[in-house]
Amino acid sequence: MLLSKQKRYLSGSDWVINTLDHLMKATTGVGNLSQVVLLLDAPLDESEVRNRLNAFVKQFLVLQGQVSRDLKLAPYWKIPARPGRDISLTVLNAEGLLSRESILALFEKSANTPFHDDKEHLAFHLFKDAERCLLAMAFDHRIFDARGAELFLNLFQQNMNDGSPAASGDITFTSSAALTQWSKKFLAGRTVNRRIIALSKSSPRALPIPRDGAASQRYHLLSFDQQETAHIYDRAYTEAGYLMESPYLLSVILQCVHELFATKQEDGSSYLIPVTTDLRPNKEPLQEMFFNYVSYLFYQVPAGEVADRKGLIALLKQQMYDQVKSGFPKDLAEASLLTRIAPLPLLGKLLHLPMKGKMATFAFSHLGKSSYQQPLFMGKKVLELFHMPRVPVPPGLGFFSNYYNGRLNLVISYLDGLLRDDEVQMLDRRIREGFGLGRPS
């Protein structure tokens, strides 16, 4: 076990995220970037935001690290001894109240802007008018997963609440090259291989990737107020059972995507959906804020079994149960350790082999209750919080939901050209109807 302030070995999950980052840079020019967005009830002062965030972020030298590899073959995150550049903050002052369309266009622009270099992993965007503002923290997924990003903002606000100087970011990371217990890793690898081979027997339906379009990311936000959210959760309980929001949300989304495919002539007899799961051990809160603690569940649903909601929910629940029971998410994380020896370009190609280039139909994640537990951010009330991740290509399509302050938000993230505007509107309308809601949000 290594205890170091300058070096933190990457886990298998980290290496999967690094591979996706490499693939996304190759296919879209921008890496595995996401944004966590706060909508505030009043504008923030630009210089205060810049000064406070800069002072806070600079304490965490890990945020200016980069991937390196030592003689032991295991890749690690090399952390500098001194802070480097100031944070990147772009500010836009709008004259009128920002419309939803203009907000999404702004976030599409920031999502499609790569970091300056391989040592920059955070950037902030402040969009404001006279009445409110939006603050987005764009982050490199190699340094934070979605929950980690929320925890980071939460820690920032906690420090604001306490009136204390920023928390010490001088972290001694505990990590391991994990070059032992090979039989455990190979056994996990065997389980994962068998699962992937089973999944690859049926070619998944996937939307065709536009060949000549711009490789930029587009977003659509479905925002539900507290009453609507309570209604959705109530239906989740009635239709799927206690605490079964995730399979319920996925069932509604999958039915809508199925409807979309009904208008297309795409090959494939089933839908394949990788779903992110959180394996965070919750033992070292400061350390676990950084890097990745995610694994995946894979749902495979024959197209003929999507229309019946009750049957679909039962199928999703059973697949979830079977994968958890067999320990698949943990096996995947363990087996991923073996992949760290492979260079990223090679690993990127290997990832495409089992499904002949069709890696999934879409990605899905339900983050659940937010880890940002503050009602305020820098003194302003937080009205909404949502995530806007880029999606690997393929599949170039993802649905990401989260819950904050009694409100559910659902973001559709898609590659430009993958969906037409009327198809996005159809998904919006049908998802709302699927939740038993009629009027637009």
Partner: protein, 80 residues
């Protein structure tokens, strides 16, 4: 097995799944207040199957059965 023994076993399992100290897991708190999501809940159901040989994923569990660890222990007791 008594209800108390079932309850203690559940507390140990849930503490392990949610990475909390067993003393922090209150038998009178609803599961959703223990910070358990869909995945954590399924892990608990798997734990129940492995420990008590009861498969509950497809059963008609109600919110009331999961209101607290105590009520779940009572439910399991009726099924054993």
């Amino acid at each position: 097995m008594t209800i108390q023994e079932i309850e203690n076993t559940l507390i140990q399992g849930i503490a392990s799944i949610s990475n909390q100290d067993a003393s922090a897991v209150s038998p009178d708190k609803p599961f959703h207040e223990l910070g358990i999501d869909s995945l954590g809940f399924v892990e608990i159901l798997v734990f129940i199957e492995k420990t008590f040989k009861l498969q509950l994923i497809a059963s008609d569990l109600t919110k009331k059965d999961f209101e607290t660890i105590h009520s779940l222990a009572s439910y399991i007791n009726t099924r054993l």
